[in-house]
Symmetry: C2
Subunit: 81 residues, 2 copies
């Protein structure tokens, strides 16, 4: 079994309303040193395939479902379980 | 400036409906090797404080806003920008 970890971030310059809301809430809670918050998502995909196939499959999953290339950057890591 | 990275995961055994939906979608798209998907969130918090204060502040943010200890595990990393 393999675990592919896909980290999906909003690109620099793309508005992050959720991050802004969290920053605002943290400031209101008294955390005045907080300047910015960005939110990213991590997909941990457990795969039953070979390491060579996994890399290709995950890149295809990213393209077909997990990432919108207009607004997202992403990185993929594959490791054996 | 410092960047604190807070990774928030659902605990083992806690149901992840979003992950299940993604797994199901991936299977439907033909990715039959996918056995499980878990979704985590990453908060990147930019802080204007000292490294010593930052660690303590972030632990407090985690407790007050970012994490529900009943269902979440988390890890914190602090680095200078």
């Amino acid at each position: 079994m393999l675990k592919a970890t896909v980290v999906v971030r909003l690109k620099e310059g793309v508005d992050d309303p959720e991050g802004k809301t969290i920053r605002h809430s943290l400031n209101l809670l008294g955390f005045e040193s907080v300047r910015d918050v960005r939110v990213a998502r991590v997909y941990e995909v457990i795969l039953d395939s070979s390491p060579e196939d996994a890399r290709r499959e995950v890149e295809e999953m990213v393209r077909k479902l997990l990432v919108n290339p207009v607004i997202h950057d992403y990185e993929v890591r594959v490791e054996e379980l």
